[in-house]
Amino acid sequence: MEPVTRITSRTVVLPYTNIDTDQIIPARFLRTTVRSGLGGKLFHDWRYDSSGAPRADFPLNQPAAANCEILVAGRNFGCGSSREHAPWALLDFGIRAVISTEIADIFSSNALKNGLLPIVIDAAHVDWLLAHPGAELAIDLESSTVALPDGQIATFQIERFARYCLLQGLDELGYLRSQERVIANFELQRA
């Protein structure tokens, strides 16, 4: 996996609370056996009308959203299903970090395993970001900070081991597999 250290980008904003994974990637697009190619289906039913034409008023369809790598959303982003297709779709579209005041547990865990940063910061800063789409931010994972355009700094927490793996570009499975002897001993002792 590529290391994740710093993301500098403008934001695209979805000013809704409780954005669930069925919106991020509707279930009918989960009938796939690969991880790739889901970006075109990201927020499909919000992005396109029933004839398949893009909805001009949807933030991700607007010209300003092109190449934005940071998504800002209302509280409790990613609630609902455990589908890892949600972070896969966001990454495939080009989003590398999601900022909110609260992010659902399973989504957050899935995001970290794919190099998508689930960033929870305080409500005052999120409110400002929700009101200022297109703000230019600098996210630094090492210091776990978000630098806002006015020079303010918001801090966030990423579980330490996940952060270490992201910074080093390591797959967590490598660490788990290195515990094989301990796991085997554990099984023997329980038997």
Partner: protein
């Protein structure tokens, strides 16, 4: 003094967590299905890794499988090629990696969260995971059960372990006695309405209190199933005589001396008196009414006799009502209904079908309403047919199908049409959940059946004479 959660967690710590590293947590039962595993098996192939404990892994097919008998048993092609590809991939992966599979025609196949418990594989004190958020269902047995993503499915396949930080604990006390016509589904919807869809984030629920103790195992599964809809990592209920009586009849539960040993162990699991929880909430079970959702998440829920709330100036709330086509301040009762779905891992068990049949017996589905009844597993289907429930449904005008997730998630072609209103016994009323543009109202099997008869959202007590 320890909670049940803490006891189970500690027993499964292969390596305890430190400041720098999460715990390595051992998994006793890994349930897999066709939708969230293909990419995990691909990873195993890339690494040249086998499934470490095929004996602790069980596969079934449920999410994208057809429910029409001809497509399951009759040799008709599966309507969706992409679904057929997932079904074939799971067959191949299970063969190649030596995992037991209940394939499409298997008589033990069904929804993953119905199959594990009915076999007796779900047991008190176990850690149970699956690439599905409704894995919380298995907590009804006093297991620690939670949903994981596909990368973690790969971790468990390869190592039988997961890297996990210990979540917090949350006591949900429900005292009193549920009234006639009020079900476990209404109880869990009332809780979600009370604490919200993120009320449980970062926590594991333990459901306690006299109203919970009085529930049978199927009802307990309905409650634990929707823990995730309040954002909780898992939901658990302490094992008791109700649990043991259920498991004693299950084919893969421990037998003989093993059973006696297990019983002794299981009796040691419940939370000790005085153990502290990080959070707590108390509900009066006797005051819960039949509940129905009116918006686009399970927290937007109300008593069936109430009026749709109208918070001042909330654009997200207004967007949800506009999607549903509802007006703030209007009653939810008598809203017209197009489709009724009875099934899912929430309410697809035998007692759910019995409840719905009690309402439907001798009655007809209202003109213009489609009623789809989908048993949770092939075992549930056979048991329902053995007591004639299928006849009740068919004579009422319902469509009686083979088991699967079906219209709960609309992945297999069983969809609600755009703009149609569906009363559904499933677990999610998110926009488009049952099909693009579908408007879902979550309710109990009793409320769903009553609404099918009237063609309008109906309090089941009006038909039950309660």
């Amino acid at each position: 003094m320890k909670t049940m959660f803490h006891k189970i967690w500690e027993r499964h710590e292969v390596v305890p967590e430190t400041v720098d590293t999460p715990a390595v947590l051992y998994i006793d039962l890994h349930l897999i299905h066709e939708v969230t595993t293909p990419q995990a098996f691909t990873k195993l192939r890339e690494l040249g890794v086998r499934v470490r404990r095929p004996d602790l892994t069980l596969a079934t097919m449920d999410h994208s499988t057809p429910t029409r008998s001809a497509q399951v048993f009759g040799g008709a092609p599966i309507m969706l090629d992409s679904a057929a590809a997932q079904i074939n991939a799971l067959e191949r992966n299970c063969t190649d990696f030596g995992v037991e599979l209940f394939n499409l025609r298997h008589d033990l196949r069904g929804i993953v969260h119905i199959v594990g418990p009915e076999l007796g594989l779900t047991q008190p004190g176990k850690t149970v995971v699956c690439g599905d958020s409704h894995t919380s269902t298995h907590g009804a047995f006093g297991a620690l059960a939670f949903g994981i993503g596909t990368t973690e499915v790969g971790h468990v396949l390869a190592t039988q372990c997961l890297l996990q930080r210990r979540p917090k604990t949350f006591a949900v006390n429900i005292e009193g006695q549920l009234r006639t016509g009020v079900t476990a589904k209404d109880l869990i919807l009332a809780l979600i309405g009370r604490i919200g869809v993120a009320g449980g984030t970062g926590h594991v629920f333990e459901y306690r209190g006299s109203a919970v103790r009085a529930l049978n195992m199927e009802e307990r599964m309905t409650v634990c199933n929707m823990s995730i809809e309040a954002g909780a990592r898992a939901g658990m209920i302490a094992p008791d005589e109700t649990t043991f009586e259920y498991l004693a009849k299950c084919p893969r539960a421990p037998k003989g001396a093993d059973w006696e040993r297990s019983l002794t162990d299981w009796r040691s699991l419940p939370t000790e008196t005085g153990a502290a929880f990080d959070k707590e909430v108390t509900l009066d079970g006797g005051r819960i009414e039949p509940m129905v959702t009116f918006g686009t998440n399970p927290g937007m829920v109300m008593p069936i006799s109430a009026e749709i709330p109208s918070p001042a100036d909330d654009p997200v709330f207004n967007k949800a009502l506009a999607y549903m086509g509802f007006t703030a301040g209007a009653p939810i009762r008598n809203q017209s209904v197009d489709v009724v779905f009875i099934g899912s891992c929430t309410n697809g068990r035998l007692s759910d079908l019995r409840g719905a049949a009690e309402v439907l017996r001798g009655r007809k589905v209202a003109k213009g309403v489609q009623l789809l009844v989908v048993p949770g597993s092939q075992q549930v289907k056979r048991a329902a047919e053995a007591e004639g429930l299928d006849r009740v449904f068919i004579e009422a005008g319902a469509d009686w199908r083979e088991s699967g997730c079906s219209m709960c998630i609309g992945m297999n072609g069983d969809n609600v049409g755009a703009g149609q209103v569906s009363v559904s016994t499933s677990n999610r009323n998110f926009e488009g959940r049952q099909g693009p543009g579908a408007r879902t109202l979550l309710a109990s099997p009793l409320t769903a059946a009553a609404s099918a008869v009237r063609g309008r959202v109906t309090d089941p007590r009006e038909l039950l004479g309660a």
